[in-house]
């Protein structure tokens, strides 16, 4: 079984080998022209490393790194031309960095307000106009560009092999930086965003700000790369920032494999290696390159690294319950079809009942959730109509009703994913109904989703620890730079995550890739992730759907424990007997309205409820007395399927 730590180690080894090879390259051939070629490849590989941060880690379709490269390159070139004696490599790199950051902010701020192909086309447009504008401006030397070669005062102090090795050194630093970023709080935020904007919001990640951060961070290596280009090639012309460069860099990321540190580096070597060294076939190289890119995009979207890892040549086809488009279509009726049947798997072990202080909500005085006369209409459908309920801290309150009763809509309204049309929602003093999902999450409200939103290419532990570190204490800088405080915070997040996984009975699966886990365990994983942020209010969206009997037991135990710690729990559920065993208070919704609220006994005896909803199930409820575990196991045995 390929574990994540095994993969990390493999990645580092391969990177080490590549860097060693790059350092040793001059032994093969050290004539000036070749060295300049290699230095060019280093420069564009830096751009690829940068692009990978915003495209691979954060999942945003950004298509024009060449634009930033061009702006930074011209900045460095103009400076070097005007101050040839001051222009040393370090200074140029700093200048490139600053220019790239500014450009990144200015371009990113408007462009990132949109996503998908809108963003892709907008950034591509930038990549196209930078060289076209530069070729008419006098400042940038118009169509002839800026040539440092012809500037007699420009004599770089570094040269030859020394310069080359320094460039490789910069590349190594960039790779290390990218690694540190990926495995930090910031990296977790990016990956949550890449997985699903909803997931990110539920973890308190503010979408726009995070995207902008990713964009600016991705500009840094591009800026440094541009400076290296200027210093080593000693010119910068409109063609240096040709739109094709952006396409090649993007291809490098895709072919190598987005989302890992190794991917863009490997991809760059492939793409630009072909470019530089296929001299005789130069006319075919673009065609070959295009075919290669198309092939990878269609057949192998995870790139070469993905092939090696075996994480996927195809994205998994999704069952209805997990299909995002289906969820979009059925939003109004809140129909859940947890249609995935888990393969028979080892059942989660029963866990000792210890109250874990780590997972307790932070403040002793946790406030009550108060939903007051809330309504929500979608088009002509009145999904929620004048609904009120209260969840006191440390209690389990269930919200039940048939399909389309509005249960999930209420949950979405509370957690800030929908705007209410009327009424108000408060948590203690705070007005939730005016807040976005991210702000709601910051108040200590955690939620799960009907379709588990775990990051498939990570392990359970990474998912849960990632969530814990995002919402835990600590600073981004400390997390990335691995300061003592940062390391402590990361370790703490790990511990909290392990505790949460133990509580949900998933301790044995901590190092399994989520992609390999069956549906029921993923659902429990969702709950673990929600617990790991030590919420004061836990919103569970149909956590029991599709769970086996023993998984239901684990879920029951976990919820009880959370409540015992002081967390308020609002449980939206379908499974009526499960709810009747567990909840202290039940609200029954029917067609968007509350038809009854009370204790399980009260609901059982309520005629209106029986009529409207429980009708067919009424006899059932009447008969079921919460059976002790022993009784049930004498009736039912776990089937032993393979």
């Amino acid at each position: 079984m390929k574990t994540r730590t095994g993969r990390n180690r493999r990645e580092m080894i391969v990177l080490g080998v590549i860097f060693a090879a790059l350092f040793l390259l001059p032994l093969l051939n050290n004539n000036t022209f070749r060295l300049q070629q290699y230095e060019y490849i280093v420069a564009v590989t830096l751009v690829a490393i940068g692009l990978n941060i915003v495209v691979g880690y954060a999942g945003q379709l950004v298509l024009g790194p060449g634009g930033i490269f061009g702006i930074a390159g011209y900045a460095a070139a103009v400076f070097a031309n005007d101050h040839p004696s001051d222009a040393d490599l370090i200074l140029l790199c700093l200048l490139g960095l600053v220019a790239a950051s500014v450009a990144g902010l200015i371009i990113g701020a408007p462009a990132l307000r949109v996503g998908g192909f809108y963003l892709g086309m907008a950034t591509l447009a930038i990549a196209v106009i930078v060289p076209s504008v530069a070729s008419v401006m006098n400042l940038t030397g118009a169509s002839t560009g800026i040539s440092l070669l012809s500037n007699l005062e420009f004599s770089p102090k570094l040269g030859g092999v020394g310069l080359y090795e320094l460039c490789v050194g910069v590349l190594v630093i960039a790779a290390v930086w990218s690694w540190l970023l990926l495995h930090s709080r910031v990296g977790h935020r990016f990956q949550a965003l890449a997985n699903s904007e909803d997931l990110a919001a539920s973890l308190g990640v503010i979408g726009f700000r995070t995207k902008l951060l990713a964009f600016v961070l991705s500009a840094w290596p591009a800026g440094v790369g541009a400076a290296i280009y200027v210093y080593t090639q000693q010119f910068f012309v409109p063609d240096s920032a040709d739109p094709n460069l952006s396409i090649y860099v993007l291809a490098a990321c895709i072919i190598g494999g987005v989302g890992s540190v190794l991917g863009p580096i490997l991809g760059s070597l492939v793409v630009f290696g072909i470019n530089e060294f296929l001299g005789g076939l130069a006319q075919w190289q673009d065609i070959v390159f295009g075919v290669l890119l198309a092939g990878f995009a269609i057949l192998c979207p995870e790139g070469i690294v993905g092939l090696i890892d075996g994480t996927g040549t195809r994205t998994l086809t999704l069952p209805p319950a997990l299909d995002p488009r289906r969820l979009l279509n059925t939003r109004r009726t809140a129909v859940d079809h947890g249609e995935v049947t888990p393969r028979r798997h080892r059942a989660p072990a029963t866990t000792p009942v210890t109250l874990d202080a780590e997972l307790a909500p932070s403040s002793r005085e946790t406030p009550s959730l108060n939903v007051s006369r809330v309504s929500k209409t979608f088009g002509a459908v009145r999904a929620v109509d004048d609904v009120s309920l209260t969840v006191a801290p440390g209690t389990v309150h269930a919200l039940i009703g048939s399909n389309g009763s509005g249960k999930t809509t209420v949950l979405n309204l509370i957690s800030g994913f929908y705007r209410i049309d009327g009424g108000q929602i408060t948590l203690g003093e705070a007005r939730l109904d005016r807040m976005s999902a991210g702000r709601v999450a910051h108040l200590g409200i955690a939620r799960t989703f009907q379709a588990p939103k775990l990051i498939l290419r990570q392990t359970l532990l990474e998912n849960v620890a990632g969530a814990a570190s995002i919402q835990g204490g600590g600073h981004d800088l400390g997390s990335v730079l691995r300061t003592p405080a940062g390391i402590r915070a990361a370790r703490h997040a790990n511990e909290v995550a392990r505790d949460a996984l133990e509580e949900t009975g998933l301790g044995d699966f901590a190092h399994e890739l989520v992609a390999r886990l069956p549906h029921g365990l993923r659902r429990l994983g969702e709950v673990a992730r929600a617990l790991a942020v030590s919420p004061s209010l836990l919103l569970l969206d149909e956590p029991a759907a599709g769970l086996t009997h023993s998984e239901l037991e684990s879920l029951d135990a976990v919820i009880r424990r959370a409540a015992a710690r002081g967390t308020g729990v609002l449980l939206v559920e379908h499974n009526v007997p499960f709810v009747f065993r567990l909840a202290e208070e039940i609200t029954v919704l029917h067609l968007g309205q509350v038809i009854s609220t009370g204790t399980p006994e009260q609901i059982r005896g309520d005629d209106a409820v029986a009529e409207a909803f429980l009708g067919s199930q009424r006899e059932l409820i009447g008969d079921v007395v919460p059976p002790p575990a022993g009784r049930i196991s004498s009736v039912v045995k776990e089937a032993g399927r393979g």
């Binding site: 195809r314 069952p319 209805p320 947890g338 499974n575 067919s616 059932l620 045995k637």
Partner: protein
């Protein structure tokens, strides 16, 4: 009298098999119910029968004896098979009238047949005549569901599969839908209904199939299964089915 026969159906997603060896029979002129808890595989089964599942592993679907297992959904529509997915999905941005016309797409060359079908559908669902020029997204959930079923009926299907047609509907509308279902059966069509509400399903059908974890665990005449509390327990998720355990065996 014809029948839609499903034999040994296996279906899933990619490498994950979700439906195992399902056998179903939908005779013309009957209402058949398919129940089971969330996650049992009901929707996957229907999608596989309708030809939507690319991950369908195997089995056979026969319409009046003809093997339609490999047919495309559009071909099946022309042959008298209709599947209405759940969630009252209609064509947004188009009017009720246009929606119904699309329902009759396979018959577009036969103007007369189209008009007859349209008249018949409107007779079943008078609401659709009243709101014919309204845009589909402006209708209420119940009206959208009626439109979705109406669209499917435009081709005069011999066999109709409805996935949770009553989800989110008020009791009055549920009754209306079942009235139409019963009328269709009386006119000789076979209707399979996937239902959340077990008792309602059993009261309104001639035969019930109970699904759990991708298999049919019980099936039989609905009247006989009505009082079986074990089925209710099963569907409510209290118990799991055990291989070889004693549930009421299939009554054929």
């Amino acid at each position: 009298m014809g029948e839609l026969t499903v034999t040994g159906l296996r279906a899933g997603y990619g490498a994950m098999q979700v439906v195992h060896d399902v056998h179903l029979r939908l005779p013309a002129g009957e209402v058949v119910a398919l129940v089971g808890r969330n996650g049992a595989g009901k929707t996957t089964t229907l999608q596989a029968i309708a030809g939507l599942r690319s991950g369908a592993f195997g089995g056979r679907v026969q319409l009046d004896g003809t093997d339609i297992s490999q047919w495309s959904p559009s071909r099946m529509a022309k042959a008298g098979f209709a599947f209405v997915p759940d969630g009252h999905r209609v064509l947004v941005g188009m009017t009720v009238e246009e929606n119904l016309r699309i329902g009759g797409f396979p018959m577009r060359r036969d103007k007369r047949a189209l008009e007859d079908a349209h008249a018949w559908v409107v007779d079943l669902f008078p609401d659709l005549a009243v709101s014919r020029y309204r845009h589909a997204e402006q209708l209420s959930g119940g009206q959208q569901q009626m439109l979705a079923i109406g669209m499917a009926l435009m081709c005069r299907p011999k066999f109709l599969l409805l996935d949770e047609p009553c989800g989110g509907l008020a009791p009055a509308l549920v009754d209306r839908i079942y009235e139409v279902v019963e009328r269709l059966a009386a006119e000789g069509q076979g209707v399979l209904v996937v239902e959340q509400d077990v008792q309602r399903a059993m009261r309104r059908s001639a035969r019930t199939y109970v699904m759990d974890q991708g298999r049919i665990v019980i099936d039989g005449p609905s009247s006989e299964l009505l009082g079986n509390t074990k089925i209710l327990d099963l569907v409510r998720g209290i118990v799991d089915v055990v291989e070889g355990d004693e549930m009421t065996p299939s009554v054929s």
